[in-house]
Amino acid sequence: MENKVKVCVENLNVHYGEKQALFDVCMDINQNEITALIGPSGCGKSTFLRCLNRMNDVIDICKVEGSIKIDGQNIYDKDIQVEKLRERVGMVFQKPNPFPKSIFENVAYGPRIHGLAKDKTELEEIVHTSLKKAAIFDEVKDRLDETGTSLSGGQQQRLCIARAISVNPDVILMDEPCSALDPIATAKIEALMEDLKKEYTIIIVTHSMQQAARVSKKTGFFHLGNLIEVNDTETIFSTPANDKTLDYVTGRFG
């Protein structure tokens, strides 16, 4: 059974000033699936991800061409409100970046801004469920007033995941969410993704082949700004069409 296409990327070209970071990327991403993006460092995975919630708008020198349709609507259209888009497309960054506020406030930030909770109990409800979903609730439930930056790196990353899912996005972009985590926390996050994909569409950048193989349905391989190949994860890891992909997944370069 093939899922419905959620995100449709066509002829995406991205420049940072003079330097081109992505070349003519075309890719379909299915709903309720986990799509993994792999590739050597500096090949443009983060850049690609940041195009999907228009995070690159923040960078002055970054120019994006091409079209990205989410549910058939081009997100680079003039009449798209970028704040609404980002509410629907959540993001977890490569480096954990909790706000210097309390743990509770970190998670309550999004719901507050978008007015998702009618009163205090509802807000608490949202915060608690988000923390639970991100597998960090048990560790922080007694110290929700402490600042988010006092947590360890891995805890901070899970806090950021909780923050991202607190506004119930459709799509979640994760940029190496497990790079700072131990195997147990990683397993928790992977279980979480497994869980989340029932409701959300997840795109994850990872440097771990095993992780891509474990969690994703489809995998895309980037190299030097080109999307070399995208296919079912099993195919990518067993019989990829491109030699470069084979070299990369078997660890011969990268």
């Binding site: 919630n53 995070m55 923040v58 704040e83 609404k84 888009l85 980002r86 509410e87 959540g90 993001m91 960054f93 480096k95 970046n97 909790p98 706000f99 210097p100 506020k101 930030y109 999004g110 801004i113 978008h114 600042t147 930056t149 950021c160 923050r163 991202a164 506004v167």
Partner: protein
């Protein structure tokens, strides 16, 4: 002896440096092994040994030699039983004669003798001190030199020495502060022995010029002349007006500059704003008197208000303008140093730019922003010239910003201008005012520190 000694010392230090440098080099060659530290550290090590004790001795000599010389020259006068004040007068005459200033008694035999004696002892002192300094230095140098061997870590010792240097520097700032406090304190205590402290702190009438006469009949008058409340209120009023201008304008400028302005705009606008801080305060005073005050007057007149030509409002407004760059420049720096990743985290949640600024950036930058406010407040409280020119000198207990007013600093200036008897209560009241100002800013700082600590949001 100053210049020669100085050059000799520098020469000595350089020689010692190379001595250490080459010694370490030789050790390396002979032992065929790398010493603990780099060669230059052995050089520094020896330079320190040769110079630091010398400098300490020199200082000691500097402090004591005047005393010894004086005693030696005057010893025979002491034995003659001439009284103290006459002796010090005599010594001044001797010194003056020596320096070629002709006095009525320059030809006196005693004076001529004494001058010869003075020249003689100072000559001896010069030579002996140079000899002592350099022989002691050489001893230390020798000691240091002999310690250099393969297992001796000069780097650590140089490091320790640098640490001591830093410590001494910070000590200087603290000692100066303490010194200032004590000099103020001394005069203030004398002042309060004549004027009761409660009258000073809570009295509402300030007219120190009335306190000239000091006989019994005027005693009551003295007590009534030094009520500083009008000055406190004036200071706070004007500072408050100034802050009402500079905080909003400065903060919003800072936010615009750091978050919204293109870098080309920022690069031109920022220096221009900072020029405001470089304009002499007298010029601001002109501006207040010639432009702002008449403007306020006519504006007030047109709505039927009576505005005096010198007003706290004019002074406060102009002072506020002067302080804007203090707030904006500092706040701009702290806001810009909030990491970009926090902004992105907020945008990624779907927050708008202004929400991000309000909820993430300002809270994260708050300690620095409050710091800039504090700096601005202390500038406002300490500012004198604008007030002198634009707000008047009349101590006038009022909360009405349209009337003339005066501040603590202004009154200090007024009191100390011109010839003063240094023990009249009027003069001493300036010190009491100074100390009060000092204590006030101290309390302000303390409160602000507590506030900042409470609301600090730490980011990495």
């Amino acid at each position: 002896m100053g210049l020669i000694t100085f050059f000799l010392l520098v020469l000595f230090a350089i020689t010692s440096f190379y001595l250490g440098y080459f010694r370490s080099n030789r050790v390396r060659v002979i032992e065929k092994q790398r010493p603990f530290s780099l060669d230059k550290y052995y050089g520094y090590y020896l330079a320190i040994w040769s110079v630091v004790p010398a400098v300490i001795i020199l200082f000691a000599i500097l402090i004591f030699d005047g005393f010894i010389v004086k005693n030696y020259v005057l010893s025979e006068f002491y034995s003659q039983g001439i009284d103290q004040s006459e002796i010090s007068l005599l010594f001044t005459q001797i010194e003056n004669t020596r320096n070629g200033i002709k006095l009525f008694n320059s030809e006196d035999e005693i004076i001529v003798n004494a001058v010869n004696k003075l020249n003689y002892i100072e000559g001896i002192f010069e030579i002996t001190s140079i000899i002592t300094v350099f022989s002691v230095s050489s001893l230390f140098l020798l000691y240091g030199y002999r310690k250099i061997n393969l297992n001796f870590d000069a780097r650590l010792i140089v490091e320790k020495f640098i640490l001591i240097g830093f410590f001494l520097c910070s000590l200087i700032a603290i000692l100066v502060t303490v010194g200032i406090i004590f000099s103020l304190l001394y005069e203030t205590v004398r002042f309060f022995s004549q004027v009761p402290i409660l009258d000073f702190l809570f009295g509402t009438n300030w007219s120190p010029q009335r306190a000239f006469v000091r006989d019994a009949a005027d005693a009551a008058d003295i007590e009534n002349a030094f009520g500083a409340v009008p000055l406190f209120s004036g200071t706070f009023l004007i500072a408050f007006i100034a802050m009402c201008v500079s905080i909003p304008v400065g903060l919003l400028t800072a936010i615009y500059m750091s978050e919204y302005a293109k870098s080309s705009v920022r690069n031109t606008a920022k220096p221009i704003i900072e020029i405001l801080a470089g304009i002499p305060t007298v010029v601001y005073g002109f501006f207040a008197v010639i432009t702002i005050a008449p403007f306020i007057r006519s504006l007030g007149g047109s709505i039927g208000l009576d505005v005096s030509s010198e007003s706290a409002l004019a002074a406060g407004l102009v002072m506020g303008i002067m302080i804007i760059p203090f707030v904006s420049s500092l706040s701009d720096d702290v806001i810009s140093s909030v990491p970009q990743s926090l902004r992105e985290g907020s945008y990624a949640m779907g927050a708008t730019k202004s929400e991000t600024i309000k909820k993430v950036i300002i809270p994260a930058a708050l300690p620095g922003i409050i710091g800039s406010f504090l700096l601005a407040v202390s500038r406002a409280i300490g500012e004198t010239m604008i007030v002198v020119m634009a707000a008047g000198l009349v101590a006038n207990l009022t909360a009405n910003p349209l009337e003339a007013s005066t501040t603590i600093t202004t009154q200090i200036v007024v009191i100390l201008i011109g010839d003063q008897e240094f023990d009249s209560p009027k003069t001493m009241s300036a010190f009491a005012l100074g100390l009060t100002l000092f204590v006030m800013t101290l309390i302000l700082n303390f409160i602000a520190l507590r506030v900042v600590k409470k609301y600090t949001e730490k980011y990495e």
